[in-house]
Subunit: 337 residues, 2 copies
DNA sequence: ACGAAGAATGACAACGTTGTCAAATAACTT
DNA sequence: AAGTTATTTGACAACGTTGTCATTCTTCGT
């Protein structure tokens, strides 16, 4: 198998003794092909190492074979994870994975979307936070009957494929991780309000506080914006208070890093005098020193799964289900061992 | 202009009163079309908002309209810059920008390349360090007559488009920046040997030392590998020596960050007791605290330019020149103000 | 065992470009 | 002004698929 040469459907059809159209049907998972022929064709194709010509497919079918990921969160780690996952699913099925930033801050982002959609037809869409919660965007996509998957949406939509982790439970797990290690005075550093995930993580935080009978007045809640910078300021707020916080839970890794650096500058040892946990398991969290204990979500798997489900949806014109929850894992590292 | 509807060459030809083929010629910058007709066609096309159908083009011409960037340096900032630059040039010309990692560490990377090239035909290639110095890769690409641009190659190749900055001069500039601020005891933290850029930056460093009559024995040279981790260890080496180094030049930002964090942990203030400069002007260098003084190269422009030149090369079957040098700039920030 | 209905198959024309090659036109030569 | 040559144009057949629709096989009910 895996020969070169530009084989065409013609070649396969000839060798298998069937018509061109039957081969085409097999490769499109179309119904109405006897299993026996299907196997025959697949066998011959594999033997000869045939790969369909995407351009011809696009031209004839008027499909684009493009799956696009619209995002507005410039976290490169996260994006790379999604892209890799998408690509894995796509390349198996002869689709293209594409990513495009949609800046929600710009007033005209909806026009940009429409513009993009008319200029570059796409067969499926994946949205990540915060766009997975943008009703206007989702509406436009639904209006065009484009299959759509939402990664970690704040509210699940019934017409989309929803792929998510239990953010609240994850938040609770992280808080309990701190509590289990003896910390009773905790701080939560929140992210941007436009990301509903931050609020859910916070809810989990408070649920853990409640469940373990800790006093709310020993807790602190500091508003951040997911940036390293806001981690610095958060630490300053912490230091100014006399709450004697020893456990910090930042809603993402960048803020955790910011907190740790500010702490180091202030001469406070991490984790000896203060433990910090993050969220996202980013590359920098691993590279920091101390490396940061963080919650890992299987973002690459989630993206791959989303892409796979969208492709199924395109192929079958029907999707089985719309809710898929993924498991998370705490990566224990030096910042809170 | 910019109407919707799927216009075809046919429509334009009709409205302009010329043949389909003439329109095709105009859109391919083919020679042998009277300027008058060219303008006419272009005008009509613009008025109607025509956009060529890429699939049909690919199918008929057997070109892929794909420009691919092969890389093996997982620095996301750098990659994103290159990708954005490529995409800008590509989208103007109806090309696709694609990126693919080639892991030089894997013994089979050459097979992976060949595999990729036969599976996914590409019209042009852009290589970034360290791949822009890999002779085997370059040879395979030349063998297939695929136009190729090298970004920051260690040695320029005459059959490729070479796009670069003067690494040695840049290194010298950074070292002199430290010297100008009164530092006389300097350290250089090198990167991986496989990146020739690191050696050139070091050469610049020593040139500056020489030019300013500083004593070589007051200097330190510490081997790193571009990772944050190696920045930590570098600082430790620094601290152990009794050279009393006050100015550190790291061959990239990650190592500069590592150095600073290690310094903070050791209770050494940056920049008060020690100044640190980096290289690359990465997002994290800007976000750190203190933010890091770093050398910015116009990587996005360089990539856009490379893509543009490759497309010209494809179109005209001939390239004008092969060496293009870009200017750099020191971004002065808190780590060495 | 005979239709009727449904499932499986194939012939052939799209799809929107570019390549080829011949025809028409312009630009020189002498 | 006629003969050459170069430039410009266009007709028509690819390119490798899928859509449509007619045809042939199955299966099932009676």
């Amino acid at each position: 198998m895996a020969q070169d040469k530009n084989l065409t459907i013609q070649d396969i059809a000839q060798k298998a003794g069937v018509s061109i159209k039957t081969v085409s049907r097999v490769f499109n998972n179309s119904p109405n092909v006897r299993q026996q022929k299907r196997d025959l064709v697949l066998g011959v194709a594999k033997e000869l190492g045939y790969r369909p010509n995407i351009s011809a497919r696009q031209l004839a079918s008027k499909r684009s074979f493009v799956l696009i990921h619209f995002y507005d969160n410039p976290n490169m780690d996260y994006l790379a994870g999604i892209y890799d996952g998408m690509r894995e699913a796509c390349s198996e099925q002869g689709y293209y994975a594409v990513a495009e930033r949609l800046k929600l801050k710009n007033r005209s982002y909806k026009d940009a979307l429409l513009d993009y959609l008319t200029r570059n037809p796409v067969d499926g869409v994946i949205l990540s936070p915060p766009i997975s919660d943008d009703k206007a965007v989702i509406r436009e996509i639904e209006k065009r009957d484009i299959p759509c998957a939402l990664i970690s949406p704040g509210v699940k939509k019934r017409n989309c494929i929803n792929v998510f982790i239990d953010e609240k439970m994850a938040g609770q797990k992280m808080a309990e991780f701190l509590i289990d290690r003896g910390h009773t005075k905790l701080a939560f550093i929140s992210g941007l309000d436009s990301h509903s995930a931050s609020a859910q993580r916070e809810a989990g935080f408070w649920a853990a506080v409640e469940a373990h009978g800790l006093k709310r007045k020993d807790m602190m809640r500091i508003g951040g914006d997911f940036s390293m910078q806001s981690g610095f300021t958060a630490f300053n707020a912490l230091a100014k208070s006399n709450k004697n916080i020893t456990g910090v839970f930042a809603a993402n890794d960048e803020m955790a890093i910011g907190t740790i650096i500010a702490a180091l500058r202030a001469g406070k040892k991490v984790p000896e005098e203060m433990s910090v946990v993050g969220f996202d398991d980013s590359a920098f969290a691993r590279a920091m020193w101390p490396p940061i204990t963080s919650l890992a979500q299987p973002i690459e798997d989630m993206a791959k799964f989303s892409a796979q489900k969208i492709i199924d949806w395109i192929d079958t014109k029907d999707r089985e289900q719309s809710h898929y929850e993924f498991a998370t894992e705490i990566m224990v590292r030096g910042s809170c061992p």
